[in-house]
């Protein structure tokens, strides 16, 4: 039998992984599609840490790989769900998570685009570590997501609020419009940080002092909050006299 060898870049292709896959071992990374197809045909694959392209995942799915830590493109994830993969730690593009949701993926550590989260929420994903776009969060909220570590855009938070009840923590809201509806939400216990000045305005509407940038308009005592210094967000002690809002601080957030 011919021992043919196709040379590839190990960054995107692992023929060695192919060989190991045939033995049912561990395959650390599969970077291209054709390689993974062959692996799938090997009956004993147990673990594929990363799948980065679509055709790859198809084949793996057919071979019933149990774990795919990360899928970065959409078509890949589709067939994975067909194979009932149990865990998809990170789905990086929109279309990919859709079929996962359909197949009841149990955990999606991070969904980074909107359509992804929609599908997940429809299938009652229990945990989403981070949703980075608005539409995602909508759907999530409507399905009683219990924890949303970070919502990065405005529309997300809006929806969360009317979703009521169960969202317990939102550490950070990065944009202005986001904060507005958060303030409207009666039951948020903690809003750790609003990341832009306009947010603070919105927060004010919910009862916080207004401190625009520039010199302080007379003696002001901060009731609480955080300010951004050199990329960090140190907490401002309660009742700290505020002389001015330094423009170099970029943002000043007040805490309710």
């Amino acid at each position: 039998m011919a021992h043919d060898i196709a040379l590839r870049d190990p960054g995107t292709a692992f023929d060695i992984a192919l060989a190991e896959g045939a033995l049912g071992g561990v395959l650390g990374m599969v970077a291209e599609s054709d390689a993974a197809q062959a692996i799938a045909w090997a009956p004993k694959d147990r673990l594929v840490t990363t799948v980065t392209e679509s055709d790859t995942a198809q084949a793996i799915g057919h071979a019933r790989a149990y774990t795919i830590a990360q899928a970065t493109e959409s078509d890949g994830a589709q067939p994975i769900s067909h194979a009932r993969a149990h865990s998809l730690a990170l789905a990086a593009e929109t279309d990919a998570p859709q079929p996962l949701a359909v197949d009841k993926a149990k955990a999606l550590g991070l969904a980074s685009e909107g359509d992804t989260a929609q599908a997940l929420s429809r299938q009652k994903a229990d945990q989403v570590g981070m949703a980075s776009e608005a539409d995602s969060a909508q759907a999530l909220e409507s399905q009683k997501v219990k924890a949303l570590g970070m919502a990065a855009e405005a529309d997300v938070a809006q929806t969360i609020t009317p979703g009521t009840a169960i969202t317990e923590a939102i550490d950070t809201v990065f944009e202005v419009d986001t904060a507005q509806p958060i303030a409207w939400a009666p039951k948020h216990r903690l809003l750790g940080m609003a990341a832009e000045f306009d947010q603070a305005l919105g927060i004010t509407w919910a009862g916080a002092p207004v401190v625009p940038p520039g010199p302080a308009p007379g003696p002001v005592v901060v009731l609480g909050g955080r300010r951004k210094r050199q990329g960090h967000w140190p907490e401002i002690p309660e009742r700290t006299p505020l002389q001015a809002v330094d423009e170099e601080e970029e943002l000043l957030l007040l805490f309710l």
Partner: protein, 644 residues
């Protein structure tokens, strides 16, 4: 033209005693060597003797061996160094005496010639002088071209299983029909065309096993109802337990049937665990030979002392046996043979098994240890313990030997030996000479000078085949000392490109305890792990077998010695091939491994430039191979795992 290397074995003997200080001829024999661009590589003689002194011990002040081929003027090797007696009798083997040059000069163009060997012993002490049961074993190694030859020669070495203890005192068959059928339906050489026996002889060796008794004994050997060979009386007046070797040349054994082999000693049961081996040198017609039974010798070693005193602490030796010859492969009569020094007295309880066999219990009997002991146990289904392989197949077979003692005082020392493996197969495309076989190469000729260090310069074996796989490589050492304890080392000098590229490496290192008596001890060194397995072996820590190098024999207590190298190899090749694609046009290094190897050691290496076909000669077509390729960091790959 395909040059081959072959060793044929012959024996000569003398029934009458050798008178003291008298050059005495052994019976003339005819020896054979195919002449087709023939070059003699080794004509090595080991002489066995027994002294017959009845008091004092007989020091040998001078000894000689003379060799005459085809009636030419004899070449005589003379040793003037004393073999000093220690108050005990002396018996054993001296050698090798190297007559290669004499054969080169005097062997006629024909395929055969007469050989006359003579011996001379001058004893300077002792009450009854002269030597008895003198014989000679000849290993004749030559290179020849097997292309176009119509007939060829071969020596089959067939082991016979030892008795468990002393030989019986009445005519008794050892085992059952231990002389196998050679020709005809069911014979070991059934499909060998026109097999013609040239010489058949039996070597019987072992320790006297007198157990401190001074009773003489007489060894008798007999095949079925053929004439009994009754050797001259072995003198035991000094109750010494020497290593002895007898040779019985027996013509006329019907090759078409199995036969009983009988051995017994009269006077007293002696020669415990006698090791008997049948050598058959024959000529056959190449055309029409469609199957063959090869003899392959593999050395084995067991670190001293022997494990014991129960089976749970047994010593174990294990190695893989590769069988590349074509189907159908069938294990034939085969055995493992051990040489060892019992201790300062008899080793009580020796137990041996191979693979799944039950242990076989032996009774050594060297009380006054004046030489090594030995035993031989079959591992084919016809032996006393049944087969030692669950199955014996083409490809890889695992040989496992377990040995333990029950004695807590005399522990068994300096253990080594050989596996004599005979198996039948089809004939490879390269012919029978390409099959696995064992050849003997001269290394260090016999020298009776006692010393602690002896160096042999510039030993350079020649294997004529371009491609070969060394299944086994080792050294057979004949060692004489008179020390109660000794340590023995056999070393080779590293050459450029071999491991540290200089200095000496141990090939064999062991120790022994015995009586401080002049003793003949046989040692087999296994050295394959130190040598390249094939001519392009990528393991740079291994030594190239054909590279000229020095060897040296090191021992704590002075000894006399002689050493030969044995090489067990085949030149059956298979082609592993494939195609490289995706190359950037640079040099692609290609590494071939056995997929079944748990550590995936690289066995073969090649390279090519850019895309295209590659091929590698491999020596086993049974296992799956895995091939890796590397051009640079962004051009790597691997093949599927598959057979060639």
């Amino acid at each position: 033209m395909t040059d081959r290397l072959k060793t044929l074995w012959f024996a000569a003997k003398r029934d009458a005693d050798v008178a003291d200080a008298t050059l005495s001829a052994l019976d003339q024999i005819t020896v054979y060597a195919k002449n087709n661009s023939r070059t003699f590589r080794g004509a090595l003689v080991w002489v066995a003797f027994q002294d017959i002194v009845t008091a004092t011990g007989g020091t040998i002040g001078e000894h000689r061996v003379a060799c005459s081929v085809n009636g030419a003027g004899a070449t005589t090797i003379t040793e003037l160094d004393d073999i000093a007696a220690t108050g005990e009798q002396m018996g054993g083997v001296l050698g090798p005496f190297d007559f290669t040059a004499h054969f080169t000069t005097n062997f006629p163009a024909a395929d055969s010639a007469t050989l006359d060997l003579s011996v001379y012993f001058d004893q300077t002490t002792g009450t009854t002088l002269g030597m008895r049961n003198v014989n000679a074993l000849l290993a004749l190694t030559y290179q020849y071209d097997d292309n176009g030859i119509t007939t060829d020669f071969h020596t089959d070495i067939c082991p016979i299983e030892s008795p468990a203890g002393a030989l019986p005192t009445t005519e008794t068959e050892l085992g059952t029909n231990q002389i196998p059928q050679f020709t005809g339906a069911g014979g070991d050489f059934e499909n060998v065309a026109s097999l013609t026996e040239r010489q058949r002889f039996f070597v019987a060796e072992g320790n006297d096993g007198s157990a401190a008794s001074a009773t003489d004994y007489v060894l008798n050997l007999r095949v079925d109802s053929l004439t009994t060979k009754t050797f001259a009386t072995t003198e035991k007046a000094l109750a010494s337990d020497c290593y002895q070797r007898f040779i019985h040349i027996q013509a006329g054994i019907d090759l078409t049937a199995v036969h009983a082999f009988k051995a017994w000693t009269t006077g007293a049961g002696r020669l415990n665990m006698a090791v008997c081996t049948m050598y058959t040198t024959f000529e056959y017609t190449v055309s029409g030979t469609t199957a063959f039974t090869q003899t392959a010798i593999f050395a084995l070693e067991i670190p001293s002392p022997l494990g014991g005193t129960a089976a749970g602490d047994a010593s174990r030796f294990q190695r893989t046996i590769s069988v590349p010859e074509p189907a159908t492969v069938t294990l034939k009569q085969s055995a493992v043979r051990l040489y060892f020094v019992e201790g300062a007295a008899a080793l009580g309880g020796l137990n041996v098994r191979v693979g799944g066999q039950a242990y076989r219990a032996y009774t050594p009997g060297a009380q006054v240890v004046c030489g090594c002991s030995c035993m031989q146990q079959r591992l084919d289904s016809g032996g006393a313990q049944g087969a030692g392989f669950a199955s014996f197949v083409r490809g890889q077979n695992i040989f496992t030997l377990d040995v333990y003692r029950t004695d807590a005082t005399n522990l068994g020392w300096n253990l080594s030996g050989i596996l004599i493996l005979r198996y039948r197969s089809g004939v490879a495309a390269g012919g029978v000479p390409s099959h696995t076989h064992t050849v003997i190469w001269p290394v260090m000729g016999w020298d009776a000078l006692l010393n602690n260090l002896r160096t042999q310069a510039a030993v350079a074996p020649i294997i004529p085949e371009t491609s070969y796989w060394l299944s086994a490589i080792g050294f057979w050492m004949t060692h004489w000392d008179a020390a109660a304890a000794n340590g023995i080392e056999w070393q080779a000098e590293n050459q450029s490109g071999e491991g540290p590229a200089a200095g000496w490496r141990d090939l064999y290192a062991d120790v022994q305890i015995k009586d401080p008596e002049r003793s003949c001890i046989m040692v087999w060194c296994r050295a394959r792990d130190d040598f390249q397995r094939h001519p392009t072996d990528p393991d740079t820590d291994r030594m190239a077998v054909e590279t000229s190098r020095d060897y040296r024999y090191v021992n704590v207590a002075t000894c006399a010695k002689g050493v030969v190298m044995f090489l067990t190899y085949h030149s059956i090749t298979f082609t592993l091939s494939g195609t490289i694609s995706g190359s950037a046009g640079g040099t692609v290094n290609i590494y071939v491994k056995k997929a079944t190897d748990p550590i995936r050691e690289v066995l073969y290496k090649t390279s090519r430039v850019g895309n295209g076909a590659y091929s590698v000669s491999v020596y086993d077509d049974v296992p799956d191979y895995a091939v890796d390729a590397f051009e640079d960091d962004t051009h790597v790959g691997a093949s599927a795992e598959a057979v060639v």
